[in-house]
């Protein structure tokens, strides 16, 4: 084998090896992208679990406080009945103060009913975001499969990457369902009777 022949074969070998590497790199990049999207979904699920857990605990606490408030209210009324015949002014004043406290706790509990609904809003938003991430991941994979990156120059490839991402985002946007939660705060929502 001449030196020229050997160099030629080496060039072919190099070229084949480069293509294999490019292909491997492409697969590696896809696997990396998949991992990235899986991580995002995992983190969104983690937030969902944390929020759900916190809400469940808060609801249990809320119910317990509510039961205690009821008992306290009933106790104050019972003491008031017992103290009334005596007409002891300091005791009656103290009981009146207790009733004011009980009423205030009830008002706060009512406000907590509105605030505690945040869990439902967050869960719906997370599910919506998670769906969008998944759709974007699928669209990007599809664009990647169709593009044939290896056959073009770097400049053209970059252009295709940009176009591919834009296309994937546009398709995800079209496929997205309407956002289920538009609330920006926990203020009471509108009411309309038909």
């Amino acid at each position: 084998m001449s030196e020229t022949q050997s160099t030629g074969i080496n060039k072919i070998k190099d070229s084949a090896s480069k293509k294999t590497l490019e292909y491997a790199d492409c697969i590696y990049r896809n696997a990396e992208a998949d991992d990235f999207f899986i991580n995002i979904k995992g983190e969104l699920n983690q937030v969902d679990r944390l929020v759900s857990d916190a809400v469940n605990n808060l609801v249990v606490n809320f119910k317990f406080i509510s039961e205690l408030t009821k008992s306290h209210h009933e106790m104050v009324l019972a003491i008031e009945k017992l103290a009334a015949p005596e007409g002891s002014k300091p005791i009656l004043e103290l009981l009146e103060k207790q009733m004011v406290v009980a009423d205030k706790i009830e008002q706060e509990l009512e406000m907590a009913v509105t605030s505690l609904q945040f869990g439902d809003l967050v869960t719906q938003l997370l599910a919506h975001t998670s769906r969008q991430v998944e759709m974007l991941s699928i669209e990007l994979q599809r664009v990647d499969r169709q593009s044939g990156w290896g056959k073009t120059s770097n400049k053209k490839m970059l252009k295709r990457v940009h176009e591919g991402i834009s296309e994937a985002v546009a398709k995800t946007t079209i496929k997205s369902t309407r956002k289920p939660v538009v609330q920006q705060g926990m203020q009471m929502g509108d009411i309309e009777l038909f």
Binding site: V55, N56, V59, F62, K63, S66, E110, V113, T114, S115, L116, Q117, F118, G119, D120, L121, T123, Q124, R178, P180, V181, V182, Q183, M186, Q187, M188, G189, D190, I191, E192, L193, F194
Partner: protein, 121 residues
């Protein structure tokens, strides 16, 4: 005799907050986790009002509304929608399907009771 309200929501915390509010006002509350569960319970209980969410698995609130209105015993029963959604398009769908009213979450207990008092008589 206490009036019975069927509260439908896939969120356990919302169901509990609704039940807490309504029971505190003297109503009987039946809870359902989605439209299908609500339909089953509506068929086996006498209900005076239905309060339902929209976005739920298995059967959503609009489908439930549509099916309930087909039942003779639910033709004139007030059905209120309690949802995070407030878009005109979906509201119009609810109205067309026979909803009595539309309440956007989060609800305020006092206002919820006022509305229920108004529609339940």
């Amino acid at each position: 005799m206490a009036k019975t309200i069927l509260a439908v929501d896939d969120s356990a915390s919302i169901r509990q907050m609704v039940a807490f509010t309504l029971k505190g006002a003297g109503y009987e509350v039946i809870q359902a986790v989605d439209g299908q569960d609500a339909l089953d319970k509506a068929n086996s209980h006498q209900v005076n009002l239905v309060l339902t969410d929209i976005n739920m698995p298995r059967m959503d609130g609009l489908k439930l509304l549509e099916l309930l209105r087909k039942l003779a015993s639910y033709k004139n029963i007030p059905i209120l929608i309690l949802t995070t959604e407030s878009g005109d398009e979906i509201k119009a769908k609810g109205r067309a399907a026979g909803a009595t009213g539309w309440l956007v979450k989060p609800f305020d207990p006092k206002r919820l009771l006022e509305v229920i008092g108004k529609v339940i008589g």
